[in-house]
């Protein structure tokens, strides 16, 4: 991987070699040839903004637990047991099912290409309800606020204003394995996830329609202005100009990678999320142009803030998620990357177990997440389900706000371990991991 400075020095080396754009691209290709020899691994994070109702995503199926679930959710939100999609096998002796919309994901689970992580959320250290009530500093900052909670997930911290994300921090360590682009490629909106200490993710999207070509030679003039302004005494100007200088080079590589991967055959749903996943698959398919053996992708899906009339909206969002991920897993098969790519979900928080008066649910805490991939030990529900009782030992209040039993840090460090980070590297990327004696989840 490359930070801005090394990227620029690489470019100028190519220029000294006596060529403008074409030779520079040759240099990239030769790097690609050298680096593609190592086996490829990639992580795709799908964030579900708004707070996915995990209570209706992963449901206990054994009678006693299901009945507790149905009672607490009430007529408004409980999904009838007969429509749930059962998951094969037992985890810790318990049976589980998923939302009826998750047809692909349930079958991946049954093929041991998917797992769930139960009752997980931002936590600085393991804590019981009694400990938290006695010491409010055990709570994450700005608990139940959308942007802060999602940022805590994406940074694997409990800070209200994290300055880096766990994806970015991993990308910092992968600079020698990411070829001509940063390891982190952002196919969603801007996110703290993609920000490292030295590396910033670059954005990719499907080609747009109505853009206007600039006159020949104008690109060079824009670059010349940006190069001089990248030294501006005004730091905001300098940062904008530096981004412009760097992007001018990166765009060339990114477009070539997308073009190289455009022969992908797998059909994706014609949804926004389908297009995003298709773009990611194309960039993966064009990875030899980039010369990357390690990549991290970011995207988002849906709007899950179902305060009102949750039933239909939630089913539709999960169906969109399921359809997109189903196609994406097929694309990985087509690319021969079945076992080399891991997909996982994040979301701001779970929703209250209790429905509100507008047939929705409100902000809560511990949630359940999905992990997909042929290379994982799938077919498991990892972690521990909360005690389904209002005001019980798992409930921070009285509405079913689950106190997490596994921290975001443990799950994300597990992803880091899957990606091949050493113990020392994991400790650096996930500083809170040391607070959890159980360590990273084994994924």
């Amino acid at each position: 991987m490359i930070n801005r400075r090394t990227f620029l020095s690489r470019v100028s080396k190519a220029t000294f070699a006596g060529a403008s754009a074409p030779l520079w691209l040759n240099l990239i290709s030769s790097q690609a040839f050298a680096q593609a020899a190592g086996s490829y691994k990639a992580v795709v994070l799908v964030s579900l903004p708004g707070g996915n109702d995990g209570n209706n995503t992963l449901i206990p199926m054994d009678s006693a637990e299901y009945n507790e679930y149905a009672t607490l959710r009430g007529n408004t939100l409980a999904i009838s047991q007969g429509t749930l999609l059962g998951l094969a096998g037992k985890s810790n002796g318990k049976s589980y099912a998923v939302h009826p919309s998750l047809r692909n994901i349930s079958s991946f689970y049954n093929q041991k290409r998917a797992s769930f992580v139960a009752n997980i959320g931002p936590m600085r250290a393991p804590a019981t309800k009694a400990q938290i009530l006695a010491d409010s500093t055990l709570l994450p900052e700005a608990l139940l606020s959308h942007p802060q909670q999602l940022a805590q997930w994406e940074s694997a911290t409990t800070s209200a204003a994290p300055v880096t994300g766990w994806g970015g921090r991993m990308a910092d360590l992968l600079t020698t394995q990411s070829g001509s682009l940063p390891a982190l490629i952002d196919a969603g909106p801007s996110s703290i996830f993609t920000v490292g200490n030295a590396v910033q993710g670059i954005a990719v999207q499907a080609d747009g329609g109505d853009l206007v070509a600039l006159p020949t030679g104008m690109d060079a003039a824009i670059l010349a202005v940006a190069q001089s302004e990248s030294q501006s005494p005004n730091a905001i100007i300098a940062q904008a100009a530096q981004l412009r200088v760097l992007s001018a080079k990166q765009q060339v590589v990114l477009r070539q990678a997308q073009a190289a991967g455009s022969g992908l055959q797998t059909a994706f749903p014609a949804s926004g999320f389908g297009n995003v996943l298709k773009t990611i698959a194309q960039v993966m398919a064009g990875r030899s142009v980039v010369g990357a053996s390690r990549q991290i992708f970011y995207c988002t899906q849906g709007g899950y803030d179902t305060h009102q009339n949750q039933w239909a909206a939630h089913a539709a969002q999960l169906a969109d998620l399921d359809a997109g991920l189903g196609a994406f897993m097929s694309a990985l098969d087509e690319l021969g990357l079945t076992n080399q790519v891991l997909v996982c979900t994040h979301s701001d928080f779970n929703r209250t177990m209790q429905a509100n008066s507008t047939q929705g649910s409100d902000h809560a805490w511990g949630n359940h997440q999905i992990i997909l991939g042929g290379g994982i030990q799938g077919g498991q529900v990892l972690g521990t389900m909360p005690v389904l009782e209002f005001g019980g030992s798992s409930d921070l209040g009285a509405l079913g706000t689950w106190i997490p039993t596994t921290s975001v840090t443990q799950m994300t460090a597990g992803v880091g371990a899957w990606m091949g980070l050493s113990q020392a590297q994991l400790a650096g990327v996930f500083p809170d991991l040391a607070n959890f004696p159980a360590g990273a989840l084994v994924i």
Binding site: T137, S145, I202, A224, Q239, N356
Partner: protein
Amino acid sequence: MMTRRISSTAALLPVMFLLLFATAGERTLVAQATIVTDTIISPALTTVHAGDTVQFSVSKNGVPATNGYWTSGGNNAGFINDAGFYQAPLNVPTPATANIVYYMGPTMAQLLVTITNPRPKPDSINVSSFTQLATPIAIHGHGFLPNTVISVQGRPMPTNYLNESWITTVATLSAPKSGSVPVTVTNPNPGMSSATLTVPAVFPAVSVITPSKVPVGWATLSLSGSGYTTNSVVMLDGRPMQTTFNSATSLTARGYLPPWHTGTTATVTVVPQPGSPNSASKSIALIKPATTYDAAARFATQAAFGPRPGLVEHIQQVGFQGFLNEQNKLPGVTYTPPALPRYPYLQAVASGSSLLRLRVAMALQTFIVNQGTFDEFPSYAPWEMKLEADALGNYRQLMNDMVSDARLTGFLNLPGNYMNMNESSHPNQNFAREFMQLFTLGTSLLNDDGSSQMGANGQVIPTYDQNTILDLSRAFTGWNYGPVVNSQFVSYGVDFSQPLAPFDQYHDHGAKTLFGTVALPAGQDINTDRTAALNAIFNHSNLPPFVSVRLIQQLVKSNPTPAYVARISAVFKNNGKGVRGDLSAVVSAILLDPEARAGDTAQVTANDGFLQDPLLFEAFAMNILQQTQWDGEPIYLPGKLGEDFWHANSVFGFYPTTYRIPGTTINSPQFDLFNNLTQLHRSQYLWAIINGSSNGFLPQYQSNSWLFTAFTSVPDLVEGLNHQLFHGQMPAATQSEILNYCSGISNQNDAFAAAIFLAMNSDSFNVVH
């Protein structure tokens, strides 16, 4: 009659002539005839100019002598006839003497004369008048020598000698004044002599200019004077004006004095023809503006939608406070259903006159986020109308509008949020939470200077706990859409022009506690509970810094100092008349604060200013270019760059106010929308706007656009851009890169478009500072 012709061949010369080479003393020794003293030649000249003629006579004892004969002795000494008529040689001979002798038998009379330089005889000069200070001239005539000098008005000019009849020089006048100019040709000593011709000088003169004082910018002047012709051109500080010839004594001229001219006078000159460097000049006084053009241009980036031509000059004349006073009196946009409301909005932003109100409304919209639906008028217009009305009003009124607007509350599920009817549900918390978190207070306690209060444990202190969220959601229960009043505002059965209606029977009448201290006793009705809750939030200590920081960030800079925030918070708390929440006072204080004005004259400082967000990017471009030729499509352009204004994906809007540039500690909310893709797309859309080539823009505006019409060359334009876009602080390297690129473009309009594009595409422009 005997004539002695001067011969040029020395071999033919008689001996006595050769002897004349000797001195006078020697001559007496060789005389063949005896010189007598009673015979006198007259006139008794000692010198004769080459080329002159002289009639000599001779007398003996006072009686004219007649019986002798004349000779003129010497080398090329001219000739003399029997009647004594002497023709001096045309050139000075060597030796330069002639011996005029009258022989009378054995005696003779003698007169020895020196032949001096000829008299110059200029016949003609090749110009009929002088109309410039410096004019090449040629003089034809006779008697010119290599060292002949032409003088003009008595001042010798470097003179070129071509031959005896042709000399030239560049005649340089001392002043551009009409009159008769003497041109003198002088041959030097020996026998220095001159001849003078006169040439009329015809220059325009200025005696009176009306008016005597003008503002900077466009000016129309009437000149009276003299010497005007149809070729006369009036110049204003060196820039040609459109000149109308009325008569030889009257001109009218309209021209442009760049408004960034900071002197107290300007120079009006009249040149005889276009391009002539010579002129009559007179200075006129300039009306001193209230502020400089550069400062006014910068103010327009903060208090309006960019430095629109005309607007900047207006601010320059009326000053900051004058402009704020005017703007406070102007209403918002008139939105007429069922037209798409974003179209008149963008028209008002791009070319309307009520700008401050709309700019502040835009700032408020970034954190009090509405989400319209496809049915645009009912869901977009009412909330925007309230924001525009409240933007320079009071925040308490704005809070009333927040909790009663059908669309904003509907977006956050407040309508139909009833009391807890049974044990299995609770009130929807969405509106209560986001109302406090996003619209009024934020999640953690603030100091007046905007910094977080820190608890003893080193953590920030939450503004409210979950109990307050629950109780506020209970205090807000019982509201729903009211009956339809205005059918033009109806969408899906809801009249969005009407405030929410109270349904007290669905209100939770139980006791509530906010912030642990504010008690809302049991039994209060729905209106009383809501008013009490709003008062508690309005009077919360977080509100002044919360709102102040956001408005400062939107209008002036992303990284205000704590002291700046504290000064504005103080005005929010008390406008000076004991009123809290006076947004007009807050906005004025923000814009007039020394920290906001520091950049008017100083160089850029670290972290100053803010990056344009996509809507401002488009609005600035349309204002600066005066791009008024467009269809409805431009209302969608900001959305293509991540800011589909009035139509956010979520209540969190388009970017968080706390966003920091990755890898830095620099706060720059708008940078959240600026990445390797969107900065490229901005460039492409900017090119479309400037060229009027797509996305709904048309090129016809260019013929009326100040930038395309007021400047005479690319360097002239770049200087204009430096002041209009960069308030005089455009980086030198950026200027030279633009000049460098544009020098390769031959078509001036294309070169102008490229120069404007590169200036507006530069990050030192993108970052408003």
